[in-house]
Each structure stands twice: as structure tokens, then as C-alpha cells.
């Protein structure tokens, strides 16, 4: 396939043409127009028509106004015209006049129902769409001139395009740049001085390949790559909204993800466990790392990770919001499709009719939220969990006894036992002293806090479960909802896969239904995780590519649709996708392939940069390696690593970072208790993820917004980042420890101190220029009677703020 669209800019939106059948025109003239002319035309005509809706012709009605098309031929129930006339939509029409008689509304509805239903949303038409919905096939790696550059087929695909444009790839990155690149890329931490030196000295031809293997086997790999996945699945440990209640064991999902990456869990299994982990257990024994019995419920936490309005007034609406959220997120994360647009209307750009949104939603109709019992695995440090919980329970018993004891003493002071609480709350009442009130409320608060903490150690999964016949009479039916409104029920639909992929609308086969499981989610999971799905493998390899190279082959990595980006290298993407499936969906095999290519090992600079930038300003063809800036977590973790204070403790309940008092006290619904200092120095992925309180460092450095799927971090450069990194508390404390560490290594010699400081931070010694400038800082320091350690502290702060530290060459 020749990719004539490979460099096309983002396709601009073009509305689908709207046509009307001749017979419908007749229906309009005879049956609809007279009613509209008499009741609606006064406001809805001409250029000044209210809400942009004119009712003078059928095309006008089909085009509709601000709220969308007024009429959906063949479907009066879904037609806004009828909904407004009936008062199902506000304000009831005609505004200010009497409601239309029921007979008139019925006549309108009958006329609309007699019209030809509109053709379903456009079938895939252009070449891109045809490619997108076809199963990827591996084309042969293209022939290239500079065969010496080819390390694996990736390079052939990349080089062929470069040569086509008369471009040559950049020279290979030097060893130091490559070392740092792959360390930050795979484990999110800088190499130690010893590791850097060992790599420099290792001149064997496969030194780099062995380094890649070593890093892939490092436990810290999962902590780095698990974070990418958590971004996608909007992971958080609280509900969001007003109450923002804690999800005490949501951390188990985080650890499940880290383990999945570390153990190279096959991606198809990873998908199935998250969508239908509970339904997959019994199959077992396929020898491909299927979940242990209790891992399934934990993996299902994926379905519950979205925000949840715990105090919502409307249960039905809350459930609908949840179903919508799952449907939307699932198609974005796994399929790279934005089906969310089809919640209210047929997708304007992609061939996804509104029905398909609800057919997909129906796969979740048998699902309900549930915190399920799930024993801790060995990998979760079962023993520690059990012991900790037992300790909490004992302590709580003792503490609650204390509370009761004090309450009894206080109650004796009150004559009317019924009024105890009232008198206690009434600060003006003098029955109790201020000290008594405080002691009692402190004790109660201690008990509340301990209870909340103990919940984090319970063997429970934040999960979902099935409601399926015969456990219930029937699974709640799914309806197409006009405008996404609960009250505007249209046709009933059955679970079905997207027709743009299957080619037709048909009910999905649900082969695994059973007594207490509907089998719906499993059917969806197996469809998504099928090797013959055109999107799943492509979307995932593109995500992996995006993190390695800075840009995806499709840059809109969660939107492969018409409005998304076009792939720069479609044949390469297809080749990678087929490799992925052939390698049993092994994510690590994809890392190995990409990281060992010549394309990845290029330098960021290019001798012909000026000229090439005109030919390919966005570097879509990869004529050099993209510059990559450290993300917020990597930055913070690396600062702690450099000061020698990173606490490597892996897994388990998250740590609570310190925040300013006025922020910590600003919450009404919960209290924020910072963990002890040692806990606070754990890696950022282990920071407790409260939706209403992002870690300040993450907030200012473009951390993932926890309310919806984040496929790609923004990279912004704003002044508050500079303020945080210059003046913030983390910089202050870690600079001091960094200086102390350097002094221990380097002793009193200033040049040696500077050199050591540079080696730790940048994996290279300081230049003469850098040493000279640093000595000036020492001189200023000496003038103000500062110790050398204080000067070194300033130098450490400077290193944390360097562009060379923040950007990967």
C-alpha cells in the first residue's frame, strides 16, 4: 500500500451530506408542515430562527438546530421535535403557548414514523478507513540502499521512507546518551556512576543488547511502564466528586499492573483479565500466565477506576454514567476509537452509529460494582498483609475500648443520657471542659484514622461482579438513548460488536454464559483480544512506540479514527502488530525489537538538521531521535535517587505526601495524614492517588489528570515549574543530601566535588568551563561565610534545574 496520506495534516471535519427521499418530502408537505406553520414558524423561521432551527422545509428539520436534528425519519421517539412538543425536553414547545393537543402530537409522530429511516452512519469509504478496519498483514521489509544501517526490519521500514525523500538518518548516539536514554526509558531512573562506567568500558559488540535485557529484567521496569498503563486507565484511589472517598484497596490494581509488566504477561491475557478476569479463572491452565484465582477480581478494578459520584441523587443516572464511562474508556484504551461521541448521536466522523455505542454498552449491562473478597497473593506479601491487619485489629479493639471508657465517664456528667451528643456538640454548654471535649474528639479521630488505615490491608478487591439470570430475573435491557438522556429511551439493543469492524450489525455470540455469569464481558474481552482484531495489536504497539520514540506512528494514540492522526509508517505499524501477535503478545519482545533498532539508537542532533527540518519539520520520518523530557514522576524519583535517599520499597498501600497546611485543612470530607518521612521517599507511583489532591510536583509538571484516560502527557513549560524546582521543599532537602553525599565521595578538593556532582547527575565529568564557573559560586559562598557543603548544595540545586538533566539526548 502506498501511503499517500502519510504526511497529510489532520483531516478537517466534513459533515456528512444530508438527503431526503422524495416520498418523505410529500409526507412533510401534507402532514407535518401545516402543524409547524401554525404553531412553530413564528419563532423558528429564517436567519433569526430560535436555537438555529428553521421549520420551513424538511432539509431544515433534518439539519436541525443547536440541539441537533429535529427529526429522525422513522423514529419519532428519538425526534427532538416530538420530544419538545411532549415536554420530554425543556422547555416544552411551543414556549409561552399552550401545549399541542395530544392528537396533533400523535399525528406528527405518525408522520415521522412513516418516513424512510436514514441510512446508518457512513460505511468505511476512504482508503485509510479500509486499511484501519482490515486485519493487519506483514509486508516484506522494503529494500534500501544503505543496508549497513539495518539492524532489524524496523530500520528497513524507517530507512525506506527516508531514502524516498532523499534523507539520511542521524549518526548513532554516543554511548552516554544511549545509556541515559534507555535507563530513563525502561526504569525511569538514572544509571549510577558505577553502571555508567561499566557500560563505557564494555566494548563487546552486544554490550547494549545485554544492557537492554538487564533493564527489562529489573523490577523497576514495571514501576516505570506500569505508570504508562495507569495513565491510560485513569487510575485513582478515590472517587472524586464531593466526597472523594477513599478506595482502600485500589492499590492492589496498581500492583497487579506492575506485576503484569514485570512478568511480561501476554497482552491478550492482560486485556481479558481486566475486562472479564472473574469469568476467565475457570478456563485456567493455558500455560500463558493466566491470573491466579484471586488476581481476576483485582484486575477487574480497571472497570471501576473512573470517577464515582457517591452521593448522587439518582441511582439510575449514576449507573448510566458508569456504563457510559466504561464503554468510552474501553474503546479508547484498547481499540483507539472514540466511541464516546456516539453516546448522543451517530459519530460525526467515524463509522460508528449511535446504536453501536449502546450495543457495546450492553456488554456491561450485567455488571455491578462490588468489593470482592480476594486473598492476598504471595507476590503481594501475604504474610505482611495478614500480620498488619491483625495488628490493626488488635490496636483498634484497644483504642475503641478507650473511646467507650471515656464516653462512659463523660456520660456520667449528663443527667439525660439522650442529650449526651447534643450537649457535647454545644460548645457553649459548660457541662464539659474544653480539655474534655478535645480529648474525646481526638480519641475518636484516632479511631477513625486507624479504621481507615486498617481497611487498606483487608483481603478485598476493588472490583465488579455479575448480575445474571437466574441470580436475577433478567439482565437489565439496554436502550438507545436519544441525546444520551436517560428519559429518552429508544430502541432496545443487544450486545454487539462495532459494525465498522465486523461489517454488519448482528447480535454478538455469547458462548460462555452460565448460571451466575452472563458471559457478556468475556465475549467482549475475547473479541478485543483476538489476533484477528484489526485494531488491538496496532493500538498497543503504537503506544509502546510512542513511549520509546516520543511520538506514536499514529500520534493520536487513543484515536485512530478519521479525525485522528494518520500513521507515518503504516506498513511498519502493521509489521509490528503482526510480530506482536506472533510473539504471543509479549510486550518485552516489542521493547527489545524497538530498542535494538538503529532508529532508536540515533542521535538527537543531525549534521543536516537545518535542511532536513524544512523537508520534515515534525520529524515524522525519524531522521533523528526526538528529544524527550523527563515526566514528573521520573524527575522526582531521580532527584531522590541522586541524593541517595530513594526508598525502594515496592508494592502495598500508597504513601501520603506532605502538603501545605492550608491545603490539607481545606478538605471537608476527609483528613489528610502525611506518611512518615521514610515512606514519603518512595517512588512516585506509590504516592496515594487522591483525585482532589494531586502531588504538587505532579500537578506542576503535567501529571496525568486522573478523571479520564490520558494517552499522552502534555509537555508544558511554565514559570511555576521553575519556582517549584528552584524553591520547593523537595529541592531544598534533596540538594542538601546530595551535597553531603558528594562530600563523602570526593573529600575536600573543590574540583573533585564538582566533578563528582556532575558524574552523579549527568553520567559525565565536569568540563573545565563548568569547573571554573562552579568555583565562582564557591567564591560567592565563601564571601558570605558559607561552608563548602552549602556551596555544593547550591550546585546540586543548579544540577536539578539543568536542561541537560531534564531533557534526554
Amino acid at each position: 500500500m502506498k501511503a499517500s496520506w502519510s504526511l497529510a495534516p489532520i483531516a478537517l471535519a466534513i459533515a456528512f451530506p444530508i438527503g431526503a427521499a422524495d416520498s418523505d418530502e410529500a409526507v412533510f408537505k401534507e402532514k407535518i408542515q401545516p402543524i409547524l406553520a401554525a404553531n412553530c414558524a413564528a419563532c423558528h423561521t429564517g436567519a433569526a430562527a430560535q436555537a438555529g432551527l428553521s421549520v420551513t422545509s424538511l432539509p431544515d428539520l433534518l439539519k436541525g438546530g443547536k440541539r441537533g436534528p429535529a427529526v429522525q425519519p422513522g423514529a419519532s421517539k428519538n425526534s427532538l421535535l416530538v420530544q419538545f412538543a411532549k415536554g420530554e425536553q425543556n422547555p416544552r414547545m411551543p414556549v409561552g403557548g399552550k401545549p399541542l393537543p395530544e392528537s396533533t402530537i400523535n399525528a406528527l409522530a405518525a408522520a415521522i414514523d412513516s418516513m424512510q429511516p436514514a441510512k446508518s452512519a457512513a460505511a468505511p469509504s476512504d482508503a485509510y478507513m479500509k486499511w484501519l478496519f482490515a486485519i493487519p498483514t506483514a509486508s516484506k521489509a522494503p529494500d534500501v540502499k544503505n543496508t549497513a544501517w539495518i539492524r532489524n526490519p524496523i530500520d528497513a521500514f524507517v530507512l525506506a521512507k527516508l531514502e524516498e525523500k532523499g534523507l539520511a538518518p542521524a549518526p548513532a548516539a554516543d554511548k552516554r546518551a544511549l545509556l541515559r536514554r534507555v535507563y530513563f526509558d525502561l526504569i525511569g531512573l538514572p544509571p549510577t556512576v558505577e553502571e555508567a562506567e561499566a557500560f563505557q568500558k564494555d566494548t563487546s559488540p552486544d554490550a547494549y543488547e545485554r544492557l537492554v535485557d538487564r533493564l527489562l529484567a529489573d523490577k523497576r521496569y514495571g514501576e516505570r511502564w506500569g505508570r504508562h498503563w495507569l495513565d491510560l486507565v485513569r487510575f485513582a484511589e478515590s472517587d472524586g466528586f464531593a466526597i472523594d472517598g477513599e478506595r482502600p484497596t485500589a492499590w492492589r490494581y496498581r500492583d497487579y499492573v506492575i506485576r503484569a509488566f514485570n512478568s511480561d504477561k501476554p497482552y491478550d491475557v492482560f486485556i481479558q483479565e481486566q475486562i472479564a478476569g472473574d469469568e476467565m479463572e475457570r478456563r485456567g491452565g493455558n500455560g500463558r500466565g493466566m491470573a491466579e484465582a484471586s488476581e481476576g477480581p483485582v484486575a477487574l478494578g480497571y472497570l471501576r477506576m473512573g470517577p464515582w459520584e457517591a452521593d448522587a441523587n439518582f441511582d439510575d443516572q449514576l449507573r448510566l454514567d458508569w456504563l457510559n464511562e466504561m464503554t468510552t474508556t474501553t474503546s479508547q484504551v484498547f481499540l483507539g476509537m472514540t466511541v464516546g461521541c456516539a453516546r448522543c448521536h451517530d459519530h460525526k466522523y467515524d463509522p460508528i452509529p449511535q446504536r453501536d455505542f449502546y450495543r457495546m454498552q450492553a456488554f456491561f449491562a450485567s455488571t455491578r460494582i462490588e468489593d470482592r473478597p480476594a486473598p492476598f497473593l504471595d507476590a503481594e506479601d501475604r504474610l505482611r498483609m495478614r500480620q498488619t491487619l491483625r495488628k490493626y485489629e488488635e490496636d483498634l479493639d484497644a483504642l475503641n475500648a478507650e473511646v467507650r471508657e471515656m464516653e462512659e465517664i463523660l456520660r456520667k456528667k449528663v443527667a439525660d443520657n439522650e442529650k449526651f451528643q447534643e450537649i457535647l456538640n454545644d460548645k457553649k454548654n459548660t457541662t464539659f471542659t474544653e480539655a474534655e471535649r478535645k480529648a474525646y474528639s481526638d480519641l475518636q479521630e484516632r479511631s477513625r484514622r486507624m479504621t481507615a488505615e486498617s481497611l487498606r490491608f483487608r483481603p478485598v478487591a476493588y472490583s465488579v461482579n455479575e448480575v445474571a439470570p437466574p441470580a436475577v430475573l433478567e439482565i437489565a435491557p439496554t436502550y438507545v438513548l436519544s441525546g444520551g438522556e436517560l428519559a429518552a429511551k429508544g430502541d432496545k439493543v443487544e450486545p454487539g460488536f462495532l459494525r465498522c469492524i465486523t461489517g454488519k450489525e448482528e447480535k454478538a455470540a455469547i458462548p460462555f454464559s452460565g448460571r451466575y455469569r452472563s458471559g457478556r464481558r468475556r465475549a467482549l474481552a475475547e473479541w478485543i483480544a483476538s489476533p484477528s482484531h484489526p485494531l488491538t495489536a496496532r493500538v498497543m504497539v503504537n503506544r509502546i512506540w510512542q513511549h520509546h520514540f516520543g511520538n506514536g506512528i499514529v500520534r493520536t494514540s487513543s484515536d485512530f479514527g478519521k479525525n485522528g492522526d494518520r500513521p507515518s509508517h503504516p506498513e511498519l505499524l502493521d509489521w509490528l502488530a503482526t510480530q506482536f501477535i506472533q510473539n504471543k503478545w509479549s510486550i518485552k519482545s516489542m521493547h527489545r525489537l524497538m530498542l535494538t533498532s538503529s532508529a532508536y539508537r540515533q542521535a538527537t542532533s543531525h549534521p543536516e538538521a537545518k535542511k532536513y527540518a524544512e523537508a520534515d519539520p515534525e520529524n515524522r520520518l525519524l531522521w533523528h531521535m526526538n528529544w524527550i523530557r523527563l515526566e514528573s514522576e521520573v524527575l522526582r524519583d531521580s532527584m531522590l535517587a541522586l541524593s541517595g535517599r530513594l526508598n525502594p520499597e515496592a508494592g502495598g498501600p500508597g504513601m501520603f505526601f506532605s502538603v501545605k497546611d492550608e491545603i490539607a485543612q481545606g478538605f471537608q470530607m476527609f483528613k489528610w495524614y502525611p506518611s512518615d518521612e521514610n515512606q514519603q521517599r518512595r517512588r512516585s507511583i506509590y504516592a496515594f492517588q487522591r483525585r482532589s489532591l494531586m502531588m504538587p510536583m505532579m500537578e506542576v509538571f503535567d501529571g496525568a489528570n486522573m478523571s479520564e484516560s490520558c494517552s499522552r502527557r502534555s509537555v508544558t513549560t511554565v514559570a511555576p515549574q521553575a519556582l517549584t524546582l528552584l524553591n520547593g521543599t523537595l529541592t531544598a532537602s534533596e540538594s542538601k543530601h546530595y551535597a553531603h553525599r558528594v562530600l563523602e565521595i570526593a573529600g575536600d578538593d573543590i574540583d573533585k566535588q564538582v566533578d563528582t556532582a556532575f558524574r552523579l547527575a549527568l553520567s559525565r565529568g565536569a568540563t573545565e568551563f563548568e569547573k571554573a564557573r562552579a568555583r565562582q559560586l564557591y567564591a560567592v559562598s565563601a564571601n558570605t561565610r558559607r561552608t563548602p557543603e552549602e556551596a555544593l548544595t547550591r550546585l546540586a540545586t543548579v544540577l536539578f534545574n539543568l536542561n541537560e538533566f531534564l531533557y534526554l539526548e
Partner: protein
């Protein structure tokens, strides 16, 4: 530069040149409005919890007549507040007297004596309806146009559309009340899918206005300068070797801005330097008004210095008088009445009112009635069917009142406007067309007003 063009550049250059460009866009370069407009800045006064319209600006004499009688809600099938009507409810008359003020003859209750003297500068809309009766969702709707979190707020959109006029200050500043931050905190002024540089920068009225503004206290200015000088020299040397990365320059610029902010911000935001008369006017030294008054004064100082959008919040749920209306509303009115009147008059006397749009609203209105069981200490519940809000300043037609509610103030019945219409109006008054202010995200061109709002023409001069 047009927004399409800017967005194209941003999207195409992210990771390579986009960052420096974005920095330029947010800090230095000013984007162009879609049409000429008087308002260059906006001050959004957010009354969290929901103000009772029938006790402030929308008098309902019939409440007197029906006071203490049962309201019949049986016909209200479509209410989103079913739980509120599950029990017998009694109509509650307004405890406050209304009188007419100004040349326009606007009705204002005795709750707001200072604002009453400003009515000829205000234009009221009594018929705003909202979509959700829960505080967080309704607050999201008011700020972002959607009841769910994750979308850009009005301030972010406006800053995205118009850029900033002062390179030394952020374009969008949020001044919350630390006694209770709005639900969901910074998500209420987040950038959503817009680049993060458009998010509101929270400033405090006590202590340093910006986080980490000051170097650690043990450092002298010599230490700080030496540190900055060393950073500069290293970063410049690195830049010269790596010209293919334009972000490096952007980040050097950000450090210079931060460096300037360290000196500029304390100078700009300094309520101490104001005259005694001004301080008295805003009530910065009075217990009740010092929080909102100080922040109103800060808002004026920020707008004077070219900040595009300033949003003030009352404490979360402060106006939420389900019970204790008399005490609650009196307290809240007292906290904001004098400061807001001062802000309007002060901007006017400085010739800034014409170029500054003021928006006053909460997340919804309140009901005419209350459950019978609460009669002793009665209040009013959430009401999505009617809310009163006002505009003042740049580009508005002062002294007008738009819309009406029914006999009891329960429902808007005439010239009904939705939140997105309010948003379209704010954008319009600031020179932006809500249909043209778009950002491509999740498969389509997103707007603050989604499929478009209707400008409230009656309030536009």
C-alpha cells in the same frame, strides 16, 4: 494568529518546537480576538452553594401570601431533585424587605445594601437554568460547561483564546477561600485537554500569593543570584551545543519569568500599599469582609497589570442554606456585599470598569420552599430551574433585567438561558465567538459551549 493555526502548530510541534512556542503564546505573544470587544479582562465572582434568588434580586410577593402552605409538586415529574420533594414541604416567605434602587428601579433586598447602590452598573439575568442539582456537578457545569470533571474551565478557554497581556504574570488567576476549597479543588480551574499552561494559577491572600515564590529563607540574595547565574551559564552553554531542541530556549525563558515573578508578584499583590480609604472601601480590615475584600482588591490589582481572567470563590457550599437561611444568607451577604460594591466603584473611578467584565453567579438557585420538618429553622433547597446572576462592566448594557420566574420564583418562565448561553455571552463580551473557539481533542473539535450557546443579546450593549 488564528486559533486553528495556533492549534495546528501546537499539535504538530509538540515534543519538538511546541513547548517554546506555547510558552511564547501564553506569556509573550497575544492571540487575536474574533471581533472587537470592550472587555479585556474578566473577574468571575463565584458564589458557591447557590444564592437564593427570591431573597436577593427576584422579589416574590406571593411567597408572603402562600407562606407556610403546602406546595404541590405532584406535577413536577421531570425534576432532577426527586428526593427533595419526597416529604411535605412548606412555602417560605422571604425574611428580607425589598426596595427599588437606582434609575433603573431594580429590586434589591436589604441583604445587599452596598450592591444596591451599584444597580445602574449591573445587568441581571433572572432566568438561568442549570442541569444538575448536586454541588460538584453543578460547579463543574458552571466552570466548564459539563457536569463531569476533566474539561477546561472558562478562564482556561479565555486565556487560550486571548493570551496574556503581562509576561510577568500568569494569564488566569484563581483566588479561592482557604476555609473551604471548591469540591474537586484545582480540577475546577484545570486546563482539561488544553495545554497545561492555560490552567488557573492559584494565589493566596495570606502569606505568599504563589507557591514556592520565595527561595528558602536561609539563602541571601547573593546566594540566589549566584545560583541563578550559574544555572544561566550552564544552560546557555548547553543550548549552543544543541540548537535542534527549541524547548531549551523556552525553558530558559520560563526561568527568567520565574525570576521576574519573584520580584514582580509581591510588588503587584500588595494590599498594604493601598490607601487607607481604599482599604476601608473593600473592608480588608474588617473581620467579615477581610477574606473576600482582600481578594477583590487583589483582583483589581491583577487586572490593572494585564491579567486576563481572575476567579474568586466564596467558601465551598457557603451559600448552601438548606436550614438557617436567615443566619446563613445574612453572613454570606455581609462577607461579599461591601467588597463587590467596592470593586465595581473602584474599577469605575480608575476608568477600568469599561474594559473589565464582572460576572456574579453561583452553581444554581434555590427553591421557594423547604421540608415542613425544618420549619423552625427554615431554609431553601437546590433549584436548577431558576437562578439569578448579574454582569457588570465591559461591553454590557447596564440597568437591564432579562427573564422572569414564575409566581413563586421556582421556575424560569421567560427568556430562559442555559449555562452554555452564559458562557457564550462571556466569550462574546471578550471578543470571542463560542463556535469558533475550538480545540481538537478525543476525535473532534471541542468547545466550551459544546454544540454552541446563545449570546444573551439583551445584556450586550
Amino acid at each position: 494568529m488564528s486559533h486553528d493555526r495556533r492549534q495546528f502548530l501546537y499539535r504538530s510541534l509538540v515534543g519538538v518546537g511546541g513547548i517554546a512556542l506555547m510558552d511564547a503564546l501564553n506569556g509573550g505573544l497575544q492571540a487575536a480576538p474574533h471581533h472587537p470587544a470592550k472587555a479585556k479582562a474578566c473577574i468571575f465572582l463565584t458564589m458557591l452553594g447557590g444564592v437564593s434568588q427570591m431573597d436577593t434580586f427576584d422579589p416574590k410577593p406571593s411567597l408572603e401570601k402562600f407562606d407556610n402552605t403546602v406546595m404541590d409538586w405532584s406535577k413536577e415529574k421531570l425534576t432532577d431533585q426527586v428526593n427533595l420533594f419526597a416529604k411535605p414541604r412548606l412555602v417560605l416567605r422571604s425574611p428580607w424587605k425589598f426596595s427599588k434602587h437606582g434609575q433603573c428601579g431594580m429590586d434589591v433586598s436589604e441583604l445587599l445594601p452596598n450592591l444596591a447602590t451599584c444597580v445602574d452598573d449591573l445587568s441581571f439575568v433572572k432566568s438561568v437554568v442549570t442541569e444538575n442539582g448536586n454541588h460538584p456537578a453543578a460547579t463543574f457545569l458552571m466552570n466548564t460547561g459539563l457536569v463531569l470533571p476533566g474539561r477546561p474551565s472558562v478562564g482556561a478557554w479565555v486565556t487560550y483564546g486571548l493570551g496574556s497581556e503581562n509576561r510577568n504574570l500568569p494569564g488566569f488567576v484563581v483566588l479561592p477561600d482557604y476555609r473551604a476549597l471548591p469540591f474537586s479543588g484545582s480540577q475546577q480551574w484545570g486546563p482539561g485537554f488544553l495545554p497545561a499552561s492555560y490552567q488557573g494559577t492559584m494565589m493566596q491572600w495570606k502569606g505568599d500569593p504563589v507557591n514556592d515564590l520565595r527561595p528558602p529563607s536561609e539563602l541571601t540574595s547573593e546566594d540566589v543570584n549566584a545560583q541563578m547565574e550559574l544555572l544561566r551559564s550552564y544552560n546557555h552553554a548547553y543550548l549552543e551545543k544543541n540548537l535542534t531542541n527549541p524547548d531549551l530556549q523556552g525553558r530558559i525563558d520560563a526561568y527568567e519569568l520565574a525570576y521576574r515573578m519573584q520580584t514582580e508578584v509581591p510588588g503587584v499583590l500588595n494590599t498594604d500599599k493601598e490607601s487607607a480609604a481604599t482599604k476601608e472601601m473593600y473592608g480588608v480590615d474588617e473581620e467579615d469582609t477581610k477574606s473576600f475584600g482582600t481578594r477583590c482588591l487583589m483582583a483589581r490589582q491583577l487586572v490593572e497589570k494585564g491579567v486576563r481572567f481572575v476567579q474568586l470563590y466564596t467558601p465551598s457550599q457557603s451559600w448552601d442554606s438548606h436550614t438557617g437561611l436567615i443566619k446563613g444568607h445574612a453572613k454570606n451577604a455581609k462577607e461579599v456585599d461591601k467588597p463587590i460594591a467596592a470593586l465595581i466603584k473602584d474599577l469605575k473611578q480608575r476608568g477600568l470598569l469599561d474594559s473589565t467584565l464582572i460576572v456574579w453567579m453561583g452553581e444554581f438557585g434555590r427553591t421557594p420552599d423547604n421540608p415542613a420538618e425544618m420549619r423552625k429553622n427554615a431554609g431553601r433547597d437546590h433549584n436548577t430551574k431558576a437562578m439569578t446572576m448579574f454582569f457588570a462592566g465591559g461591553g454590557i448594557k447596564p440597568g437591564v433585567t432579562v427573564g422572569e420566574t414564575d409566581e413563586l420564583g421556582w421556575k424560569a418562565v421567560k427568556d430562559i438561558y442555559r449555562m452554555r448561553d452564559v458562557h457564550a455571552t462571556i466569550l462574546h463580551l471578550m471578543g470571542l465567538n463560542d463556535m469558533r473557539l475550538t480545540y481538537y481533542h478525543a476525535g473532534r473539535n471541542m468547545r466550551l459551549t459544546d454544540t454552541g450557546g446563545t449570546v444573551i443579546k439583551e445584556v450586550v450593549a
